[in-house]
Structures are given as structure tokens and as C-alpha cells.
């Protein structure tokens, strides 16, 4: 059914004869369901398109970081225990951030902020350490060299996350 309504902004739910269409009914149902959800979980990122996109990107990142950390822990842990423990820790933090973006109460909002801060501090500290102590960080972790192995996404993502969380927080305080 969703497939029928994919014409973008152009449709207004009224057909040529002026009758309201099924698309219109559906849109209204979606809007009221959205309002209800917003009342229940004001901090959730799932209420707006960009917020859902951010959650999805966090989810993709959590999934790939977990897969990689899992492999490193199972097969190569003895090679570089410090770097691989960090990888696992980072993966857990990304999972926590993703879940808290979805839940959306005040506590989860704070946990999400804390995890973004941890991610950012982690990528900065490990990034610096991987230049000053290359022998401890020779094997790649998510945060090594400021996340260069992951296209610097680990550096950018927490900043985008924090910006988004601040935006949501401000919207709620003014509402």
C-alpha cells in the first residue's frame, strides 16, 4: 500500500473529481499516529525524517562495528588486546546510542548525549594515541587515526548526533 503513494510532494490526496482518496486517509492516519507517538516519547529521533535517517546511519554503523569487533575478539584478540577491546567497547557504545535515539524519554536522551560524548572523546584520544604510541595501536580499531579506516565517520557521526540531540532538547524546552 505504501508503494501507491510514492509520488513525492505533488499529491494532495484529492483526485480529479475532488474526492478524497485512500492516500489522504492514510496520510491522516499516519499523522495522528505520529502525534500520539510524539506525546509518549518526546525525545525520540523517530518523529522526523532527518532523525530517522540519523538513527538508521547509527544502526548501520553499530552493526558493522559489532561485526568487526566480534571477529577481532574471536580470532585475533591476542595480537592486540588493547585495540580490540577498544573496538568492542566502541561497538557497544554505538549500539547504546542507536537504542537511546529510538526510545526517546528524558533518561535515554541523556544516555544518548553521554554516548556521543564518549564516542567523540574516544576517537580524539585514540586518534592522538595512535600517532604518539603507534606500537600499541598498530592493528586497526574503529577509532585509530581518527577513524581513517572508516572514512572519518567515527569523527563526524558523534558531532552530528550531539547537534541533533541538542536540537531535539531545545524543541522540547520551548514547546
Amino acid at each position: 500500500m505504501a508503494l501507491k503513494n510514492r509520488k513525492g510532494n505533488g499529491t494532495n490526496g484529492v483526485d480529479a473529481a475532488g474526492r478524497t482518496t485512500a492516500a489522504d486517509d492514510r496520510r491522516r492516519a499516519v499523522a495522528s499516529a505520529r502525534q500520539e507517538r510524539r506525546a509518549r516519547s518526546p525525545y525520540s529521533a523517530m518523529h522526523t525524517g532527518p532523525g530517522r535517517a540519523l538513527t538508521a546511519v547509527y544502526g548501520i554503523f553499530a552493526l558493522s562495528a559489532t561485526a568487526r569487533a566480534g571477529y577481532q575478539l574471536i580470532r585475533e584478540f591476542d595480537v592486540a588486546p588493547v585495540a580490540y577491546s577498544l573496538s568492542a567497547f566502541a561497538a557497544v557504545v554505538y549500539i547504546v546510542a542507536t537504542i537511546c535515539l529510538v526510545i526517546g524519554n528524558r533518561t535515554s536522551h541523556r544516555i544518548a548525549i553521554a554516548s556521543c560524548v564518549v564516542e567523540f572523546v574516544g576517537v580524539i584520544v585514540v586518534g592522538i594515541l595512535s600517532f604518539t604510541h603507534p606500537e600499541d595501536f598498530a592493528n586497526p580499531s574503529v577509532w585509530s587515526s581518527f577513524g581513517i579506516g572508516y572514512g572519518f565517520i567515527p569523527l563526524i557521526l558523534p558531532l552530528v548526533g550531539l547537534w541533533w540531540l541538542a536540537l531535539v532538547g531545545r524543541r522540547i524546552r520551548t514547546a
Binding site: A2, R52, G151
Partner: protein
């Protein structure tokens, strides 16, 4: 591994990613064609999984956990992003597909490296 197949996989992923970025900029939700393209990529990745299971004995020094970990993660990413884009009725459906496409592109590269 099957160099031709990898190139084809990369081409489909690049097309899907660029197309998704264009749709995001044009402020369109994911249409049937775009969803079809992500389904095609999913299908190709599953074929890759089957092909590599069948031909796995012909390689040496490939860690199955590493290799199949990547294939299965890539399949998961495409499947979840595709479903996400189907459910999302705003421009951010294609936006998520674009992010997934970039991720999968890197993963296909890594798969090729691991196999050789």
C-alpha cells in the same frame, strides 16, 4: 574472486548510491524503481554468498568467519536499509539507502581483498 561478478556488484551499488543521493536532493521518497534496484542488489549479494559457499574449497588462506561475516553483514545492511526506505515516506528513505550503499561498496572492496 570472480572479478567480473565483483565489478558488476560494484557497478550496481554505485548506481544505487548515486540514484539515492539524487532522489534525496530532489526531495522524493523511494519509488518502486529504487526499491527494485535495492532488491536487485540484495539478490546479487545472496548469489555472491551462494557462489562463495560453492567455490570456497578452491581458495586457500581465507578465514571463513571473516569472509562470511562480511557477506552476511552486507546482506543485512542492504535488507534493513531497503525495508527502511520502503517504510519511510520522505526524502530520507533514499538518504538511508545512499548511506547503506556507501557502506556496502566498501564491504565489497574488502571482500575482494580478503578473497585474494
Amino acid at each position: 574472486m570472480f572479478t567480473v561478478y565483483t565489478i558488476m556488484l560494484c557497478a550496481v551499488t554505485v548506481v544505487l548510491t548515486v540514484w539515492s543521493i539524487v532522489e534525496t536532493i530532489r526531495n522524493r521518497p523511494a519509488g518502486k524503481a529504487l526499491l527494485g534496484a535495492s532488491a536487485l542488489l540484495l539478490l546479487l549479494l545472496i548469489v555472491q554468498l551462494v557462489l562463495s559457499i560453492v567455490t570456497f574449497s578452491s581458495t586457500h588462506d581465507v578465514d571463513p568467519l571473516l569472509y562470511f561475516g562480511y557477506v552476511i553483514t552486507a546482506i543485512l545492511v542492504v535488507a534493513l536499509a531497503g525495508f527502511w526506505a520502503f517504510a519511510e515516506l520522505s526524502r530520507w528513505g533514499p538518504g538511508v539507502l545512499a548511506a547503506a550503499g556507501l557502506t556496502v561498496l566498501v564491504m565489497i572492496e574488502r571482500l575482494d581483498q580478503i578473497w585474494h
